[in-house]
Symmetry: C2
Subunit: 142 residues, 2 copies
DNA sequence: TATAATTAAATTGTAAACAATATAATTGAA
DNA sequence: TTCAATTATATTGTTTACAATTTAATTATA
């Protein structure tokens, strides 16, 4: 065990994780292009397909993103007519993000995507589950 | 099993992977700031600490990055004096990236970082190994 | 009640990422 | 040999990401 072994790319856990995430997102891209969505826009829509209205900060907690990322992204989704943004009347600091009927319609077409990605990952259901659990274990303790 | 279940964030494998990679990179940031490196610059340096000279495309294959990302990044590292860039004489299309003594010096300080990250991941060595293997399994089949 | 502290979003600035395209050098085929 | 394909890198344009800061609203405290 040499002094600098821990600096070898092949001994890193973070690097394959980083590369893997990046490459899977790239796999999504051609499918998402058909919906005119980027990956980040897509996961934001996922939250809204489940929950008609959320605040920007709730969305940020769900997606591990901050307002610096979300504000321009949400403006983009708004300009496409998929969501609306309005200040809460009860607390003017809060912006409420709501999905539009147009946005809800996309769900149908989006539902075809995950199975197609799943198929090309080459993992057994057990392996996928293991990976899923390990990711959340890391995320929980940051 | 409902029609849209596959669109729930909690049923995605890609999302936790994406979030996990992002959050770990964020963990690196304060340590890398002390070396005046970003994460991507850091993994590029990792390749060069192992291999004194590489072409841009070799580096891209190692890191799963293309010239659109690497060119500006390498110019940055060059401006910091950590690497040099020059065209190959045998084939003028190729750019050779070489680490400088200055760049080599950084290795010493960088060696302290991986252990600190490892400690806060909350994974057993076996879990880390499993995750590592699964990432590479996915990467291999893209 | 006045003011300090906190909170929520937005803004600014920098870097990363990549598709698409451009440029230039090299290789291959007619 | 000439010109078409290929290869390597660079450039352009868009989006992502985030730290740091700003603005505005709300809450807590003196």
């Amino acid at each position: 065990m040499e002094k600098y072994d821990c600096l070898k790319l092949e001994n890193q856990l973070c690097f394959p994780l980083y590369a893997c995430a990046k490459e899977i997102v790239r796999k999504y891209t051609p499918h998402l292009n058909q919906l005119d969505l980027t990956y980040t826009q897509y996961i934001a829509m996922m939250v809204l397909w489940e929950q008609e209205e959320v605040t920007v900060s709730e969305l940020g907690r769900c997606l591990y993103l901050d307002s610096g990322t979300l504000t321009p992204l949400l403006k983009k989704l708004e300009s496409k007519g998929l969501i609306t943004r309005r200040r809460s009347e009860a607390d003017e600091r809060i912006v409420l993000v709501r999905i539009t009927p147009e946005g809800m319609k996309l769900r149908e077409r989006a539902a075809g995507i995950p199975p197609q990605i799943g198929n090309c990952l080459n993992l057994s259901p057990e392996e996928a589950k293991t990976m899923y659990d390990l990711c959340y274990k890391v995320l929980k303790c940051l």
